[in-house]
Symmetry: C2
Subunit: 689 residues, 2 copies
């Protein structure tokens, strides 16, 4: 047994020493020791404070940062795309053609955009855990915990006026309360053409070498004026060099590194095949829609890009799970933990028990996951109008309850953010709605069967496309005023409404709620308790040497700027403008390698040796898009926008063998802004001039 222990420990060290740049670390529990030891870097409180308060979360799913004291924000073009699309119309295609506000007055407000800046973190683990009493059924435990979370959030909101979210860390091992300052008046300052922001399109997505000016500038406003912010990142006048230590601050969305093997196997054999099928169905439909003409293509562009991007990402993640090396490594890690626990037979027993409960939850989930995803999570109703209708229907019912007893998204502390989106004046194109809804109604039948009672009820005796047309053409929910009136009218207004989308949402809701309860009690709660137990056992055995999985909350990652080898070829750490023009020429300048005319005409004005994109080993994931990349001094040296395909497996295991995240180089951004876009006002503000 002693030998086995040593062997397992050996594995563990091996696993850990070889992934030393792993980790999306909590801001309130940063890897001070590690940074000091490996990189002789001293993390100061000031440095951390700035990192925290100059980092910005795009509530729609991305990261960004303040880059001037006047609320100027840098993020990715693909994070700004949602706003660019909403501001566009038949005469202005800002998403395709870009935008620049030469004066403050020209900055354009984005409908429905919310930004969050993290102000403080508080550990509320004990309070949350105390809510669940021994002997409670899973459903009771779930409700009790949810109520406690809502109570804590509400208290905090009342006390501080700040957006307050309880965040579940280590799958239930810790609970932290995050308080955010919110900005809801966000205006567009600058965006380049999509042709350079997304040069190479879906073809080059998740590849490196890359040549993308994937940037977008916004400005946060307060009381109609540019927000004054104390913390922001200064723009570095030098770029990162090979071998430099860099930091990435941002909001990684989801990782699954602490999940057990049976849960990963469930993802491999159930969730991923379902999602891949769904995404490919959407992509085929959106592509067909877009091909019918440039106006339709404009409408569908954001949806299509998101879908193609997700399809490529999920395919890479799925292949990661199919690679025998991945699960082998997870098994080694699990064995290492088991070995550590073997000294305490009670701990070992608890671990095995928790492990088994998680495995059983997967079996339960497999029996209803498709329906849960389609009906409750809404994947079977790919329609903005339906999403709005469902919120209206649910709000009417939920708001009659005390905040603590509501479905979590309707708790008091979340209502303002929810309503911002719900009453957003952004236009919803009816043609696209019809296509998306018709596709998803048809997909509903693909998965559940055309004769299924629920499907038949949704179809109401019509074909999917006729039904989608009837629902979309008959709905008045395009108008935010109508939505607001329905929301204000409460349960009465909703139950009297004959808007076909509201009627459908009313019909669907009982089924959806049943599936949600089932998921909560048979899967979510079981997993949460079991994972919490495993987390505690891991803390006991190994401390917090492993960062929690990503939760779309602020994290700090670090790594080294470094190229890699691929098929015997050296890939340098950075590309240049010269490489951009060569790459375009190699593809005959054909879409998606057709450079905007500004770039073709302006070539001679550029210093072609300027670095354009670069890679580092830091640990990022989707959600980190728009993250600032910082040097030791905390200056901005780039903005992260992608991973290469080798990095797609990082949802499950960190590796720096070939895997890299990709950033736009700070000097490349400056060169383009100065020489091609001539955005003097913007450059002066960035340079603090």
């Amino acid at each position: 047994m002693c030998r086995r222990f040593v062997l397992a420990l050996g594995y563990l060290l091996l696993v850990h020493s070889s992934h030393a740049d792993e980790g999306m670390w909590l801001i309130n529990d940063p890897p001070r020791e590690l940074l000091k030891k490996k990189y002789q870097f001293e993390l100061t409180e000031d440095w951390l404070q700035r990192l925290q308060k100059a980092s910005v979360r795009f509530n729609s799913g991305g990261s960004g940062s303040f880059v001037s004291p006047n609320g100027l924000i840098l993020t990715n073009h693909h994070i700004g795309a949602d706003c660019l699309q909403k501001l566009s119309d038949q005469n202005h295609d800002y998403l395709r053609d870009g935008f620049y506000a030469p004066t403050l007055e020209d900055e354009k407000r984005c409908p429905g955009t919310e930004l969050n800046v993290l102000m403080s973190i508080e550990d509320v683990t004990d309070r949350i855990k105390s809510a669940v009493k021994p002997g409670m059924s899973p459903a009771e435990a779930f409700a009790a915990r949810r109520a406690m979370m809502a109570e804590i959030e509400n208290e905090s909101l009342k006390k501080t006026g700040l957006r307050s979210d309880v965040v579940t860390l280590y799958q239930g091992g810790l609970y932290h309360l995050y308080r955010y300052k919110k900005y809801t008046d966000v205006r567009l300052v600058f965006a380049p053409e999509q042709g350079i922001a997304f040069f190479g399109g879906d073809t080059d997505n998740f590849e490196f070498p890359r040549y993308n000016l994937d940037i977008c500038f916004f400005r946060a406003y307060e009381n109609g004026k540019p927000a004054r912010v104390k913390h922001y990142f200064k723009w570095s006048r030098e770029g990162p060099k090979e071998g430099d230590l860099v930091f990435v601050s941002g909001h990684p969305g989801t990782t699954n590194r602490l999940e057990t093997v049976p849960k990963l196997i469930h993802r491999r054999d159930h969730t991923f095949p379902f999602l891949l099928n769904l995404l490919r169905a959407r992509e085929a439909r959106l592509r067909q829609f877009s091909e019918r003409g440039p106006n339709l293509a404009r409408m569908a562009r954001t949806d299509l890009h998101r879908t193609a991007n997700a399809r490529k990402a999920y395919t890479g993640m799925y292949h990661g799970l199919l690679d025998p090396a991945t699960l082998k490594r997870k098994r080694v890690e699990e064995k290492a933990l088991v070995s550590k626990l073997q000294a305490h037979s009670k701990s070992l027993k608890n671990f095995k028990n928790a492990y088994q409960r998680i495995a059983e939850a997967q079996k339960a989930l497999a029996t209803f996951e498709n329906e849960y995803l389609l009906i409750e999570r809404g994947y079977g109703f790919y329609s903005e109008l339906f999403g709005i209708a469902r919120h209206l229907v649910r709000m009417a019912e939920e708001l009659e309850k005390p905040s603590a007893n509501r479905l979590r998204e309707y708790r008091d502390s979340n209502l303002e953010s929810l309503k911002l989106r719900l009453f957003s004046p952004a236009p919803i194109p009816a043609e696209l709605e019809r296509a998306k809804l018709s596709l998803s109604l048809s997909f509903l039948a693909e998965i559940m069967g055309g004769g299924d009672d629920f499907v038949q009820k949704v179809y109401a005796g019509k074909s999917p496309s006729d039904r989608a047309s009837e629902l979309v053409n008959g709905s008045k929910l395009f108008d935010p005023a109508v939505r607001k009136k329905l929301a204000d009218g409460g349960r009465n207004a909703i139950s009297r409404s004959d808007d076909p989308m509201i009627v459908l949402a009313r019909q669907v809701d009982p089924v959806a709620r049943r599936l949600r309860s089932k998921f909560e009690s048979e899967v979510d709660e079981v997993e949460r308790q079991a994972f919490a137990q495993i987390a505690e056992l891991r803390f006991e055995a190994m401390g917090k040497s492993v960062a929690p999985d990503a939760t779309f909350t602020l994290r700090l990652a670090f790594g080294v700027v470094r190229g890699y080898e691929e098929e015997g070829k050296k890939i340098p750490f950075a590309t240049t403008f010269a490489g951009l023009y060569e790459h375009a020429a190699a593809h005959g300048h054909r879409e998606p390698f057709d450079l905007p005319s500004r770039w073709l005409k302006g070539k001679s004005r550029l210093d072609l040796s300027t670095p354009f994109n670069f890679v580092s080993t830091a640990d990022t994931i989707g959600g980190n898009s728009g993250s600032p990349v910082l040097n030791r001094r905390g200056e901005l040296v780039g903005v992260n926008f992608d991973r290469n395909r080798h990095g797609l497996v990082r949802n499950f295991v960190y590796t720096d063998y070939q895997a890299r995240h990709i950033s736009v180089h700070g000097l490349g951004i400056l060169e383009a802004l100065k020489k091609l876009y001539k955005t003097d006002r913007l450059v002066e503000e960035l340079m603090g001039e």
Copy 2:
């Protein structure tokens, strides 16, 4: 009961009178009465003889016709695409750029192409049916029938030297022996650019109005010289006009109109969702592959087009099945038959019994259909090399048995055709093979689970992409001489081979064979017997007033050249060259609406009022591509190439409400050949000058 009978009969008449142009009729049982009554058209023996012997089948899945006494053949560009792609290399892209042989010597031989011309039909129903004795198990019955079919085919081959196929009609109600003259020396004469042949690409596919020069000319050779043929179609010097009766002769692939409702529901709820998932997965992968560069795009073009085309077709068919009107109509038809049978209680009982057996076969099929399609039908191994390897492995085993006992595709009478494909010198691009195989290995796991024993065995401890590379890079089967040597070496050579693709095919074969036997005995045989019974009952009750489902054998369809209405807009029956140029301009001449330069430069030479494409109500389906469209005199007035999307439901029900097949107009072809392509030799031959 009497009232119900009358009512049902009313339905039946209604159903029939409203679909009077329905039917893909047997050449030896043509709708003489119907044509006489409805169109005052007298079908003469001469007319039928010419139709039969001037019609050509492309064994790879299409139709065509002789259009000169010297073996000149007209078909579609997309039917010729396979040959165009195989003849292309890095320096010549005939698929994209077109081809013209100014002299006979320039005509280029297509590797692996086989054409069939139907010489005679013989009814062998009694012999086939007599092979199955009462009391035989399904497996015995299947084997006995298969043996009898092989025996009849072999006898015929020996006696006549002609390719001899027993064809199953009415799902087992009739068996006819078809004898074909074969042409295996087929040479390319002319093809236009893909940009005009497939103008509008996947966007306009299955749409009308259309503007496609989807034509390709080949020539059949015998003994190294142009084949002299007695029967061919003369080119009409006038085009079809609105309201004209036209005929379509060709080889419709598959319809499902005589299937029972439970079988259609099985297709709706199992087969279609599986196939749509598969096709979308292939399409996404092939598109990603093609985007990486023009050379890769060339390699994948045919696969991508076929896949996108199939995805669009299957989606339309699936939507047809989801439309409640479709199954309602099938139920009405079934009720009508039941009513007719009610006079004879034994007949009714037999019908209900057969109907029930078909329903039960669907239940059985649902439990293993995915595996059957993936493993035995090869959808899980999307690779030409694997297809070749499997044939080699199976041939080695099967050829040791008497012909009558072999798997049907290895019967003596089929061997020559099979070997023509198997030893074809057409190049197989390794990059494309790797991408396709890697995709399909991954898809195998999506459907069967990553941990499935079979999947694990196929993966051999590697990731799907590593495994695909290993298999493709290590295989010598790219070389036709290697294949031939392995085939000649028989069982010994195969069992000793360490070619990784042969090794894989050997491993997969036992599983595949088990699935095939299971399918044959639990589904195919049960259905065949039951459908045969239903067919006989239908013959008794209604005669042969309904044509058999399509079987990729020669059929005659007829209809009227007629436009239709769509969303309140009149769609005229034909388009013109003027419309082509307008359509290109409306799409900004962007791909796939970018006309070849010949068409841009040559516009002024064309008479823009010349009709280009036209539609008729005749009953066609996939496989009819390249079918000649004929006038009352039997002259060629066009070549069919597509259906509009309203016609996609025709797999299950015929309708002429908006549903149309689409043809290139004979006068449009002539105008383009004369004025733009200047193919004098070809035009003179067509005009008999």
